[in-house]
């Protein structure tokens, strides 16, 4: 570091003259008044400094200098006159190079629309905020910076993104992702965020309907960085290190202490709870160590004193600490990226390379991603431009970690240990009781114990993912106002998943032992005594081609028309193959054939006869084809009124040819009024005032419905009797059509007070109709249900985004406030369920109930505890403890509809404070107006599955407690229906409202111009900081559902922008 400083000083001195003046200032766009980063300040053609990310510059000059040049890409050069003896604070405005296009354009994937003339709801992502987040994935960086974009993290399989609510039941909520003009069909996590130039969100019909049948969930248009003609060689670098703490398992509420757990086991033992399991001599179900000791004591094999000693030794253990010590680590995410770009008169290029090396918080999980991205454009002759892009990603993922070591369907007992005091792996109970495994097989079978630490060391599970995209584009201007554009894209991706169970792994040993046949001292192995290999190949191929005419003409200075029309063809092929090898050895790649047809006895009659498992075998192939025609035109009069129209018709192979002819095209119409340009408008405070209104239709592709009767064939191996088979999916239905959403959007864009404050407000109403839903039909037909275009959803919402930039001396405050409201309602759904219990759950899955929110949280009414600690519910409007009938026969009088599990109001408040070159950014997120269900204690699960919960400590214990707690008393034997009732009652629902600090970043921008530090930025980043206010008083984070929220993560990085 010191060395760097020395060098920087050295370079700095070169640029200094003896008699100097200091000048400083800002560079902005004359059109949008946005600050321009990376503008060069030159003296006699030599760059002396460039502006930082906030458009500021500072330099020292010889006192005699009277003139400086200011240059920025896509702006006209500017000459700055230095006035002697002035303040030397210059605020420079640069004119955009192409005034006809306007400098802020919005990419739709088909064209670039000048923001000024856009009628639709486009959301342009603030790339400064995007680049402040060091996350490996593009989508993760969008969290909390885009109005209306909602991240749901309740599922545990990664966040689910949605925009503007729900428009389908079965087609999924994820927005369509476009990367460089074409839908990206692969895994978006293969895209390096450091290669991204801009992201635009297409929200309403006018913006998105050009994407037709795939636009119903809104569209995210990602454009990667490109080179520019006549641009000097530039480079950018990024290096980040991010660390995430181990999860906070010690604050996991799903736990009860060891001593309490043991005393419950003792009590259950006394009540003969374990008798059936202990006397079972066939399947040998798992018995916990404490119960095993108690049984031995009862059988007189050990004394009471010995038993107490053994059990006392357990009570110092804590499974959570074992997990933390052995299964978790501080994660390390390392990210390196390099960007290069250059442009001459005829050729320009951009090269991006990235390496992400991640070690996850789960020990032995992680990945290494290499990305390479190149975009080259050439202009061999006038009027012609050819561009070639190649994107390559290779992601090697390790999935060797263990997060639990649970036996069968149980949760591991809290006093388990994974290693002795010397660190030697210890066994825990897995599938059979320990006492059985000690003697089974007379020493002839393989070791049958399960040692989590050995398993962790032996795990050999990887995914190798590669993705290649080749893009070719040809642009030709036929005449000045008419251009032809041809684009093609080919994408090929593959995922190879390998799960290798070595011969030493428990999985292999268990299977080998189960099928071993002992006679005398001979062992006959039905499953070969070697490893097992499962391999799955997933391949994706997609190809798209597009021919498009672009027209643009102005008349008489007042009329201007921009239009495009084109046709597009697309194919997406997916292929899946998987197999399992028995007898596999990684040393010589040998394998053995096994008999997977006949049934064999299972060792020790642990179960009836079985065939060798045929898991891992898989084949599948899908082929989706689309042909589309589209057109889009906008007419602007006097730069005040803009009318836009768009239409698209999609045909596909999904519903059959007969259906293709029937649909009306997706269309949209929009109108924008630039009030500021009206001669009567004289409010000087305004620099922008635009009203927008649009209406039109977006669509969803839903593969659930089929026009013709279809059957699915299964391979012989998938049925017991080993002959090929098939089953009927659906009967003929030629009435199917695309799902459609009619969206009305009203918006306004305002910029006031010399651009210090700007706001965008959009209100929308979306009526999604023709939603495919299953409808009950007469089962005498042989089918219970059929998919028909019958359901409807109404979604309404408001999206507000306000930003400002206020400076006082060296301090700048840049607040960004984004807020969205959203309400979803199923307006039509014809199927009803016979039992309300289908609606009573965590509320995270789509619930199609007509008249309700699709994410409703519904509970059984809770009428308190009775004087014995039993929960009281309601049945037919009367207080009741008839739990089984409450669960199956509750009426609407007996349940409570709390509201939605999705917030009605949510958004972020991002504050960036700058002092000279130091910028601190704090992103606060808020979510209001929603509910969630907490986990609680289930005594049935505690006894049978060893699943604890902290609510145990607040349970009803003595008469009178019913006034203080809602948690039922512990009873022997447990009543599963009583527990299920309480778990799903209104007593376990809390308000979800919360405000959190999502992340904090601190950045320092180096100033010097010619030094190696020029343009460098040092950055610290903290995320998962946590909730600062919450409506629930249980300390829970509702956004993670019943899972643990991730621990604090922090990182440092160094960056030089391209």
């Amino acid at each position: 570091m010191k060395y760097l400083f020395t060098i920087s000083c050295f370079f700095f001195h070169i640029t200094c003259w003896s008699q100097t003046i200091s000048i400083s200032g800002t560079v902005r766009s004359a059109q949008s008044h946005a600050f321009i980063a990376g503008a060069s300040i030159l003296h006699d053609g030599k760059a002396i400094t460039i502006t930082d990310s906030l458009g500021r510059f500072y330099c020292a000059l010889p006192a005699h200098v009277r003139e400086l040049q200011v240059r920025a890409v896509e702006y006209k050069n500017f000459v700055l006159s230095i006035t002697p003896n002035a303040s030397h604070q210059y605020n420079i405005s640069l004119q955009p190079l192409t005034t006809t296009m306007g400098e802020v354009t919005l990419a739709t994937g088909y064209q670039h629309i000048p923001r000024e003339r856009a009628t639709g709801a486009f959301g342009k992502v603030d790339m400064q905020l995007f680049y402040r987040n060091p996350a490996t994935s593009v989508l993760a960086r969008l969290e909390g910076i885009v109005p209306g974009l909602y991240f749901s993290k309740t599922s545990g399989t990664g966040p689910e993104l949605s925009l503007r609510g729900l428009s389908t039941f079965t087609a999924g909520v994820s927005p369509l992702l476009i990367v460089d003009n074409f839908p990206y069909e692969g895994d978006i996590s293969n895209i390096n965020p450091n290669d991204i130039e801009s992201i635009v969100i297409l929200k309403d019909a006018a913006a998105a309907s050009i994407w037709g049948a795939r636009s119903g969930n809104a569209v995210i248009v990602i454009t990667t960085k490109k080179g520019r003609y006549r641009q000097a060689f530039k480079f950018g670098i990024t290096a980040n290190l991010t660390i995430e703490n181990k999860p906070r398992l010690l604050s996991d509420p799903n736990y009860i202490g060891v001593s309490d757990f043991i005393s419950i086991e003792k009590e259950l033992f006394k009540n003969n709870f374990y008798n059936t399991a202990l006397s079972n001599t066939t399947s040998r179900p798992v018995i916990s160590p404490v119960v095993e000791i108690l049984a031995r004591q009862k059988a007189g094999l050990i004394t009471q004193q010995q038993a107490d000693q053994f059990i006392a030794a357990f009570s110092v253990n804590d499974i959570r600490r074992e997990y933390l010590r052995h299964f978790y680590q501080r994660s390390q995410y390392r990210q390196y990226a390099l960007n290069l770009s250059y442009g001459s008169d005829k050729i320009n290029y951009f090269l991006g390379a990235g390496l992400d090396h991640n070690q996850a918080t789960v020990v032995r999980n992680g990945n290494r991603r290499i990305t390479f991205n190149s975009n080259t454009s050439i202009r061999p002759v006038k009027h012609l431009e050819i561009s070639l892009g190649i994107m390559y990603a290779n992601n090697a993922i390790d999935r060797n970690g263990l997060t639990t070591a649970n036996p069968g369907s149980k949760v591991l007992y809290p006093y388990a240990r994974f290693a002795d005091s010397l660190g030697n792996p210890l066994s825990v109970i897995k599938d059979y009781r320990e006492a059985y495994l000690d003697t089974a097989g007379r020493g002839l079978l393989l070791d049958w114990k399960y040692r989590p630490l050995d398993e962790l060391a032996l795990a050999d599970n990887t995914v190798a993912s590669t993705d290649l995209v080749i893009k070719l584009g040809i642009k030709y201007s036929i005449i000045k106002s008419l251009g032809l554009e041809l684009n093609g894209q080919y994408q090929q991706g593959s995922d190879i998943t390998t799960i290798h169970y070595s011969q030493q792994s428990y999985y292999a040993r268990n299977l080998i032992n189960r099928f071993s046949q002992l006679s005398g001292s001979n062992v006959k192995y039905i499953v070969p005594n070697a490893g097992i290999l499962d391999k799955t190949f997933e391949k994706l191929q997609s190809f798209g081609a597009r021919a498009q005419l672009n027209f643009s003409q102005q008349w008489a200075g007042r009329h201007s028309i921009t239009a495009i029309a084109g046709t597009e063809i697309k194919e997406i092929k997916t292929l899946l193959n998987g197999y399992r090898l028995y007898g596999y050895s990684s040393n010589n790649l040998g394998f053995a054939f096994v008999d997977q047809v006949n049934r064999y006895p299972v060792y020790g009659n642990l179960s009836g006869m079985q065939t060798i498992p045929t898991v891992g075998f898989n084949t599948g192939a899908a082929n989706n084809r689309f042909v589309s025609l589209y057109a889009n035109a906008s007419y602007t009069y006097g730069s005040r009124y803009t009318l836009s129209l768009s239409a698209r018709k999609d045909a596909s192979n999904l519903f059959g040819v007969a259906s293709n002819d029937k649909w009306s095209p997706f269309w949209s119409a929009g109108f924008a009024w630039n009030m500021i340009k009206e001669s009567f408008f004289h409010a000087a405070a305004f620099s922008e005032l635009k009203m927008r209104i649009t209406y039109g239709y977006n669509g969803n592709i839903n593969k659930s419905g089929k026009a013709l009767p279809t059957i699915t064939s299964g391979p012989a191996a998938n049925q017991q009797i080993n002959i090929p088979f098939a089953y009927i999916n659906n009967l003929a239905n030629n009435q199917l059509r695309w799902e459609r959403s009619g969206i009305i959007n009203v918006g306004v864009d305002i910029t006031v007070f010399s651009r210090r404050l700007s706001a965008t407000i959009d209100y929308f109403q979306k009526r999604s109709v023709d939603i495919l839903a299953s409808v009950s039909i007469d089962p005498t037909s042989g089918m219970r249900t059929e998919y028909r275009n019958t359901a409807s959803i109404l979604t309404k919402g408001l999206e507000i985004s306000v930003q400002s930039q206020l400076s006082y001396r060296s301090v700048t405050w840049r607040p960004v406030f984004i807020m969205s409201t959203l309400s979803n309602k199923v307006t039509k759904y014809e199927r009803t369920t016979s039992s309300l219990s289908a609606y009573i759950n965590l509320g995270y899955n789509i619930n199609e109930r007509q008249g309700g929110d699709p994410y409703s949280l519904i509970s059984y009414k809770f009428n308190g505890l009775d004087s014995l600690g039993n929960p009281v519910g309601s049945l037919n409007g009367q207080s009741s403890k008839d739990y089984i009938n409450i669960l199956s026969k509750a009426t609407w009088d007996d349940v409570k509809i709390h509201g939605s599990t999705r917030p009605k109001l949510f958004g972020n408040f991002i504050n960036a404070f700058s002092y000279r070159r130091l910028t601190a950014t704090v992103n606060m997120g808020y979510r209001f107006g929603y509910y969630f269900r907490r986990n609680t204690i289930s005594y049935y699960n505690l006894y049978n599955s060893w699943q604890g919960h902290i609510d145990y400590y607040n349970r009803w214990q003595a008469p009178g407690d019913e006034l203080k707690t809602t948690i039922p008393s512990m009873i022997f034997p447990a009543n599963n229906n009583r527990d299920r009732f309480y778990q799903n009652s209104s007593a376990t629902v809390s308000k979800g409202d919360n405000i959190r600090i999502q992340d904090i970043s601190l950045a320092y921008q180096f100033k010097s111009s010619k030094s190696v530090l020029s343009g460098l930025q040092l950055q610290c980043f903290l995320s998962n900081i946590g909730i600062i206010w919450r409506a629930n008083n249980h300390g829970l984070d509702p956004d993670y559902g019943t899972r643990m929220p991730p621990a604090l993560s922090y990182g440092v990085g160094i960056k030089k922008a391209l």
Binding site: T282, Y476, I478, I479, L484, A547, L549, T567, I569, R599, P601, N605, S607, G608, M609, T619, G620, A621, A622, N623, N624, R625, V627, A651, S652, N653, L654, V657, N660, K703, K706, L708, P709, T710, I711, T712, S713, G714, Q719, Q720, I721, N722, I723, P724, F725, A726, Y727, I728, N729, L731, S776, I777, D778, P779, T780, S781, G782, M783, R784, E786
Partner: protein, 455 residues
């Protein structure tokens, strides 16, 4: 600017060649595992789906019959429908049985429609015959199972007036659902099977595929249920001529968890219950009197029953499907044919022939060297012995309900069923209306067909 002259024609040509090829481009099927059925192979694959076609025998009749009983503990944790069927209550939901059986009917109809679309040729004649025969067999089998649950017991006199089941003979879902008469129901079943006989292979591998022997066995079972003993005898005989392989129970291991193998030599056509833990070995408790009726040297005593504990009693493990988790065999087997033949001989020919048939069968069930042939002095005596042995052999096959419906037609053989549950006694009188189940309400709502009467 010269080159621009060619630009538009080239573009026009590009578009015009692109558009007609669209239709072909879009003809590709989207999911390769999905297909619009069009071939005999696909028809056969549909019929070969073991779970859908063979393993959905309705279970509510097994809940209601008197082969087994439940402990109060099991009863108390059972769902409402099981409880209602067990105590012969008026209201119980039977939707699943209806749906599953009509799914078989639909699949068979789809296969039959394919045989109508695809003309038989010299090359495909065997396959064509097999597919058609299989489809007819499966449809009849499903109609028969439906008739035993949703229509009254067959009575030759009233069958023309009593409602039967809806006979769906095509896959089109727009066909209205109407109830046939009981006579039409049985005529359809018998005629379809007769039509299937010449089309089917003599025997098949595996025996989940209907064979000629299976068609005869099914005809024998149905004629027997209709009390048409002449036909039943003829068909049982025809079946036994093709397949008379009895298993010598001395070769079966009594210590095995599930002594009998799936598709063992006695199985003519495999079909099963869906597999519910309710019918697993530990939950199927046999009445102690019935258990005691097996002689000490009768191997079925140890092959069919597992001593669970002195308190609980004996569970049933004589499942011909070879599993313990409740997927009970309900198919056709050689033993049943022997018993039908013997019974019909006793009723029609005489006790001597009947006892010969019975003893030829029973000798394989007893410990080698211990069996003394059963003797009868009259036809009635022979019949009584045979009916007792029928009950002892066919326990847990789902046939008891069918037999009870038949026995209750005559006061001499009528049976009153009794249950003791949580200290309460329940009774089902002979020929009670609750021997017929309710048709699912959704069918009544959507089609308007008349509902059955229960009390």
């Amino acid at each position: 600017m010269k080159q621009h002259k060619y630009m538009m024609p080239v573009l026009a040509m590009l578009l015009t060649t692109l558009l007609p090829s669209c239709k072909k481009f879009l003809d590709q099927k989207p999911n390769h595992a999905l297909s619009v059925p069009a071939t005999l192979t696909e028809a056969r694959d549909l019929l070969n789906n073991y779970v859908v076609m063979n393993c959905q025998t309705p279970d509510m009749s097994m809940e209601s019959d008197d082969d087994f009983y439940m402990t109060d503990a099991l009863f108390n944790t059972s769902n409402e429908s099981v409880k209602a069927a067990y105590c012969w209550k008026k209201d119980l939901v039977t939707d699943l049985a209806w749906e599953n059986m009509y799914k078989v009917v639909l699949t068979a109809n789809m296969a039959l429609e394919l045989t109508r679309q695809i003309a038989p040729t010299v090359q495909n004649q065997v396959e064509w015959n097999t597919v058609k025969g299989m489809a007819l067999f499966h449809r009849s089998h499903a109609f028969y199972q439906l008739a035993q649950c949703y229509a009254k017991p067959y009575d030759q006199v009233t069958a023309v007036a009593e409602p039967g089941i809806p006979l769906r003979l095509a896959s089109d879902l727009n066909i209205p659902t109407i109830r046939s008469t009981l006579q039409e129901t049985y005529d359809q079943i018998i005629n379809d099977l007769k039509q299937a006989v010449p089309l089917l292979q003599v025997t098949t591998m595996p025996v989940s595929i209907p064979s000629k022997a299976a068609a005869y066995a099914m005809l024998a079972r149905i004629s027997h249920a209709m009390e048409n003993y002449e036909d039943a005898l003829r068909y049982a005989d025809s079946c036994l001529q093709l397949n008379a392989g009895l298993t010598n129970y001395n070769t079966v291991s009594a210590s095995a968890v599930a002594p009998f193998q799936q598709f063992n030599t006695e199985v003519i056509f495999a079909s099963t219950l869906a597999g519910l833990s309710r019918f697993s070995v530990n939950n199927l408790l046999v009445d102690s009197n019935l258990f005691q009726s097996y002689h000490g040297n009768d191997l079925r005593r140890s092959l069919f029953f597992k001593n669970l504990s002195p308190q609980v009693g004996f569970g049933f493990k004589g499942n011909y499907e070879g599993n313990t988790y409740g997927q009970l065999f309900t198919g056709l087997a050689v033993d049943e044919m022997y018993l039908i033949k013997a019974e019909c001989q006793a009723r029609l020919i005489g006790f001597a022939a009947a006892m010969d048939t019975l003893n030829a069968f029973l000798v394989t069930r007893w410990r080698t060297g211990t069996f003394t042939p059963f003797a009868a002095a009259t036809d009635q005596q022979a019949l009584d012995i045979i009916l007792v042995e029928r009950r002892k052999q066919l326990i847990g096959r789902g046939l008891r309900w069918h037999d009870l419906r038949r026995y209750n037609q005559h006061s001499s053989t009528a049976v009153t069923l009794m249950r003791l549950v949580n200290g309460n006694t329940f009774e089902l009188a002979p020929a009670h209306p609750n021997y017929t189940f309710y048709i699912p309400q959704i069918v009544i709502d959507q089609s308007g067909i008349p509902q059955n009467i229960r009390q």
